[in-house]
Symmetry: C2
Subunit: 365 residues, 2 copies
C-alpha cells in the first residue's frame, strides 16, 4: 500500500487504514518445486470427489445458472452423518477462514477481552482488528514447552479460541484440559479450531452435546485434500449455530458453490479413503521426525500434518533461504519465540526424503 | 431464532442479537416448478464453462489438494481483458454479495452518512447493520416514477451506493446522471452496483479511468448464467482496489475455489455466447412486457433480466399466492410503495408463455 497517497487514503474507512492483513503462505509457480509451506495434503482427494464433480457436469451443468442451496443442506447432512451429530448442529462456510471470521463476529464482539495464546494461528489478531476488538484481546503466553497453561484461561473474558493441535507448534491439547476450560467459562464461548485434528489428536466434537458454550471448527483443506475447494464447518449446539447463520446471512447468502458442495459431500461419504490417507500422513510424519532428529533437529511432538523444528547450529531464516535456493519451500515466521523454528508440511515419503537428503548432503555438510 | 432463550443469547455478540439478516428468494425443490423469483438466467452458461471444469478434472484433479491462487490472477486477467481495463483495476470475490460486503467495510464505515435510495437492493441495510453504520445511513426516496433524483445525492455523505439498473424496479440511470453524482462528491466513494447492467443499460466501467472515487460492481450470476458458481467483481482505480484487498485479506485469503476460477475464466473468454444470450433475454423481455400490458399490467421500463409489474385490479400478494398455487413463483416484497408490484424474472419464451397463459386463462378470467 506504500504507493497510495494520503489524499487517496481519504476514501478508505478509517479503521481499514489500520488493518494488517493476513499473509498466506506463498503459492509460487516454480518447476520441480517441493512445496512444504502451506500444510496441504500430499495425497489427492478421494476419487469419489472427482466423480461427483463429473456427475454435476454430466447431469446438471444447466443448473449452474441457478443459485446453489443457500443452506448447503446436502453438505450439512453429509458432515452430520460423518461427525455423528444432528444436522442442526452444523454450520458450513467458504473455507474455515470464513467460518472463523463469522465466529469472531458472532461471539467475540464483547466488552470483555477474548483470550488466545501468544503462539497460534496468525489470522486471529487479524480478525480481532477487522471486527475492532483488538484492544479487548488478551494474549496469553504458552509455557516454555509451547504448551497451554489451562489456569490462564480461568479469568474473566468475552470468549476463548484455542487451536488444537496448535499451529504452528503442532502440539495437541488433551480433552481433559479442554473440559477444564469449558467448565471454567460457563458464560463465554470457547472455540476449538481443529484444522489439523484428523492427524492424531482427539476431537472435541464429542463434547458438543455436553457443553452449551463449545464451538468446534474444522476444514476439508487438510485431512480431506480439498484446499482447492474452500469448505470449512463448525459443530455446536443450535443456539450457537443460529448466531453463525445470522452473521452469514447478513454477509453472503450463498457462500458455497455447486461444485464445492457436491465434491465435499463425496469426500465426507468416503470414510475409508479419508482414514487411510490420514494414517499415511501420520506414518510419514513419524519417519520424517526421526530422520530430522538424526541430523540434529529438535522436533516438537506433532499431532498435525506438519512439524515444527529447529536446529541449534543454524539460523532458521538462513536455513529456509538455503532450502528455497534448492527448490524446497517451508514456512518461516519472523516472530518472537519462534524465529528459530521452521514449519515443515509433511510430504510423501519421497518428498520428505528429498528434504532430508538436501539437508544432510548439501546444506549441512 | 424464536426458540433461543434469553439465557442462551448471552453467548451472542450484542450487535449480532440485533441483526436482521437478508432473506434470499427461495430455492424450493418442487417438480415442474416455474422459478421466476431470483433473477437467474433461463439459459445455461457457455459450453466452454463446462469444458473448462472438465479440463480441471482431467488435467489437475490432483491440484484440488492445493490452495487456489489467493489472488485469482487468471480470473482478474480474463475480466480485465473483457472489460478493457488493467488487471490492477480488478477485484474479485465469492459472488457480488461478498464483494459488496467488502465494499461497505472498505469505504462506508465513516462518520458521515452513506446514501442510497429507499427502493433498492435489500441487502444494503443488512450490510449497514452488519458493519454498525445503520445510524449513519440516509435513505433517499425515489420519485413517483421510481427514478433517482440526482440532486438528493449532492449533500454531505460518507459514501453512495446506487444499483443500476435498480432492483427491484428494473429502471436504469443514464451515465450523465452518474457523472453528476461523481462530480458532486469528490471526497466520497460512489459505488455503482451493476448486477443487471448487461441486459441493456450502459456500464459505468468506462468512467473508472476518469473518476478516482468510482467503484463499479458486477456479477457472473445473471448475464453469465453462473449463479451456481459465486463469482463477483469490482472495477476501480488501484487506490480503491487496495482497500478491498486489505479487507479481503483480513477476512478470507482464498475466497474463490479452483473450479469457480476456471469456469469463470472460460465464461469471460466466450464473448460471443455472452452477447447472444443477453440479446435473447432482452428480446424475450420485450415480448413478455407487451403480453402483460395487453392483459392490463403496468410494467416499469426494464433494462434488467426481470420486470417489475403491477395490476390495478388485483392485490399483488394475492396474485403471487395464486401463481404459486399453480407452480409459478415470482418475488413479492411486502414493503411500503412496492407492495402492489411483482418482480418477475425473464424466462425463456415458453416459460413466459406459461406465465401469461396462466394469468389470462386461469387466474384473471
Amino acid at each position: 500500500m506504500s504507493n497510495i497517497t494520503t489524499e487517496q487514503m481519504r476514501f478508505w474507512s478509517p479503521s481499514v487504514r489500520e488493518l494488517e492483513p493476513y499473509v498466506p503462505g506463498e503459492q509460487p509457480k516454480i518447476q520441480n518445486l517441493l512445496k512444504l509451506n502451506t500444510n496441504e495434503n500430499p495425497y489427492p482427494p478421494s476419487p469419489k470427489v472427482v466423480a461427483a464433480v463429473q456427475a454435476v457436469l454430466v447431469d446438471s451443468a444447466d443448473a449452474l445458472r441457478l443459485y446453489p442451496d443457500p443452506d448447503a443442506t446436502a453438505l450439512k447432512q453429509a458432515i452430520a452423518k460423518q461427525q455423528h451429530v444432528e444436522v442442526s448442529h452444523v454450520f458450513v462456510g467458504n473455507g474455515s477462514d470464513e467460518v472463523l471470521a463469522h465466529i469472531f463476529k458472532a461471539f467475540f464482539v464483547q466488552d470483555k477481552p477474548i483470550l488466545y495464546p501468544d503462539i497460534t494461528y496468525s489470522f486471529y489478531p487479524v480478525y480481532s482488528q477487522f471486527f475492532e476488538i483488538s484492544t479487548q484481546t488478551k494474549i496469553l503466553p504458552l509455557n516454555d514447552d509451547f504448551e497451554i497453561n489451562v489456569e490462564d484461561y480461568k479469568q474473566p473474558n468475552g470468549g476463548i479460541i484455542i487451536t488444537n493441535p496448535n499451529a504452528p507448534t503442532s502440539i495437541a491439547l488433551g480433552l481433559e484440559a479442554i473440559e477444564q476450560v469449558l467448565l471454567a467459562n460457563p458464560d463465554s464461548v470457547v472455540v476449538i479450531d481443529e484444522a489439523y485434528v484428523d492427524f492424531g489428536a482427539i476431537s472435541a466434537v464429542n463434547l458438543v452435546e455436553k457443553y452449551d458454550n463449545l464451538v468446534v471448527c474444522q476444514t476439508t483443506s487438510k485431512s480431506r485434500s480439498l484446499a482447492g475447494l474452500r469448505v470449512g464447518f463448525a459443530i455446536a449446539q443450535p443456539h450457537l449455530i443460529a448466531a453463525l447463520e445470522a452473521v452469514k446471512n447478513s454477509f453472503n447468502s450463498y457462500p458455497i458453490d455447486r461444485f464445492a458442495i457436491a465434491a465435499a459431500v463425496a469426500s465426507f461419504e468416503d470414510q475409508e479413503y479419508f482414514e487411510a490417507q490420514c494414517q499415511k500422513v501420520i506414518e510419514t510424519r513419524e519417519k520424517l521426525t526421526a530422520d530430522l532428529e538424526e541430523i540434529g533437529f529438535k522436533v516438537l511432538p506433532s499431532k498435525a500434518n506438519f512439524i515444527f523444528a529447529s536446529l541449534a547450529s543454524k539460523d532458521a531464516a538462513e536455513l529456509a533461504k538455503q532450502l528455497r535456493e534448492r527448490g524446497i519451500i517451508v514456512r518461516y515466521f519472523n516472530k518472537p519465540r519462534i524465529n528459530q523454528f521452521l514449519r515443515i508440511t509433511i510430504g510423501t515419503d519421497a518428498q520428505n526424503q528429498r528434504l532430508v537428503d538436501t539437508l544432510k548432503n548439501d546444506i549441512l555438510v
